[in-house]
Symmetry: C2
Subunit: 314 residues, 2 copies
């Protein structure tokens, strides 16, 4: 069974669940929000951009950066965690931008996305663009390069996401928005100090054995077998490897959200497995997708390019 | 290909990776620890119990509780996050007990376990018992019941974990330590104010469609189909559902760690999907596995039962 992607003409988010209307109250448990306890349209109705990433600290830094980039009133340092009542995810807003952490891996991002999509639905948000800004392992590219995903693929390099529903496997498309990817690539030309490219992103269920690392607690394969696998991935068009993109593409696609994945490569996996760059180098790498997305959002909002100020600080 | 569980006679953790000895330095990236930057034997060599759970706040509260339970010197409130340099996981210690968060889902716990197992190996820890203390959805049991897992099963109710290695699927056993489960059940008889039982635990890759919930952003099945699936799970011996146990059992088993899974049921999934109990009720539920594990650790260490004091506070 293959399910296809659907877009809505109204710009509204498409929840595809007939049971939802029967709920007297919808408790978004892992976000610590709910339809009876919170006025979701008032809190979120004007959101136009949702940016998600694994680390709560990074998503807080991104919200603070966007606060400054958009010239919002008040102190950027004061952004408050909207989900402070839960320590599963952290959520911040800066004007029309929502910044949310999703933890690591497909199950973790999937819980957050189900509840986020319901939140956007309850809040009656329109024309929302959602972007995952993350970290990844590069494949045949320089550490610090930023990869805009054209297609998210699984560990067999196929553009599909397998979802278990009541014990049966359902296959879903992992298509992302091609125009959005091109728009982001165009924005990257304004930021000459790091390389940005478009490529396939491979999504795995773990960081060690699933990504062919030789440095986990378990490893049953040789360095040669590892490199042969990674080279096959490269030949199939994969330029980076992470752990969320297929589920993100599938869920957002089915709910009519225009979605993109923009990840920095922390290392080149053809050169090694361990992430050994100093903290300050890694932190600067992690800012790169943020700087690209800030340029994109400023452009979409009709603000002038920020030039030198376009660098988030801690 | 099926891989089997192995136990070590020496009591040492078994890393099964010949490449590890060739590393000049092992950076445990997501824990922000390393063999060159930290003296791991001095920091962790005397650890005998490792307790893991999804939420960082809960694992901090558990470390503080154990600090008091073991009558350790100093203020329990002062327990420090050993992984403070990373916001991926939180780690605390109280005497011989290490308390670590693992986030949500198999990929997230798998990264933590690979790095934890290497940490225990580098630190030359012996005779370590590892217990996951978590939350879950119950199946045909009262909310607040504590389930000690005898067998972790997948969404087809089979005791197996499928790990992708270089694009191929490897099937692993999800056996847990039966004696440990019985020892924990015996401890539970000292805590009469909540029900504790032994049963199968089903582990899924998501919280909504994979667990048959009717309240996600997507739902393609009827309430009848959902209940039929959950009843089949119940008939197969499943008493609760969570998102980490198969990977936890497989990884710990392969590395010779005696492992148990002890989760409280936040609701009975045969009665509903939404977690709607008040925060204070849920918080008290989440303390129950902690209280059971504290009784177990006190017994193992030859301390007298704590009696009335056996209740963690925030």
């Amino acid at each position: 069974m293959t399910e296809t992607t659907g877009y809505s003409g109204s710009g509204l988010v498409l929840v595809k669940n007939p049971h939802l209307d029967l709920l007297e109250e919808d408790v978004l448990y892992h976000l610590d929000l709910g339809t009876k306890t919170h006025n979701l349209p008032a809190m979120f109705g004007d959101i136009k951009f949702v940016c998600v990433g694994g680390s709560p600290n990074r998503m807080r830094a991104f919200a603070q950066f966007m606060h400054r980039e958009l010239g919002l009133a008040g102190d950027a340092e004061d952004v408050a965690d909207i989900c402070a009542g839960s320590d599963r995810y952290a959520m911040y807003r800066a004007g029309p931008v929502l910044s949310i952490s999703h933890g690591m891996g497909i199950p973790s991002i999937s819980i957050m996305l189900h509840e986020l999509i319901k939140l956007l639905h309850h809040a009656k948000c329109r024309d929302v663009t959602i972007i995952r800004i993350g970290t990844s392992g590069g494949l045949g590219i320089e550490a610090g390069s930023v990869v805009i995903t054209d297609t998210a693929v699984d560990s067999s390099f196929q553009p599909r996401f397998e979802q278990v529903v009541l014990g049966d496997v359902v296959v879903r498309s992992t298509e992302l928005d091609k125009e959005l990817a091109e728009e982001l690539l165009a924005c990257s030309r304004e930021i000459p100090d790091f390389p940005t490219l478009i490529g396939h992103t491979m999504c795995t269920y773990d960081f060690y054995e699933g990504q062919g690392r030789l440095d986990g607690a378990l490893c049953s394969f040789s360095s040669e077998k590892k490199l042969a696998y990674l080279r096959r991935a490269y030949d199939a068009g994969v330029r980076n490897i992470e752990m969320e993109s297929t589920a993100f593409a599938a869920l957002c696609g089915m709910c009519g959200l225009k979605a993109a994945v923009v990840c920095v490569a922390l290392l080149d996996r053809l050169q090694g497995d361990q992430i050994r760059a100093p903290h300050e180098v890694l932190w600067e790498f992690q800012r790169r997708p943020q700087r690209l997305i800030a340029a994109f959002i400023r452009k979409r909002l009709g603000l002038r390019p920020a030039g030198r100020a376009l660098c988030p600080t801690d």
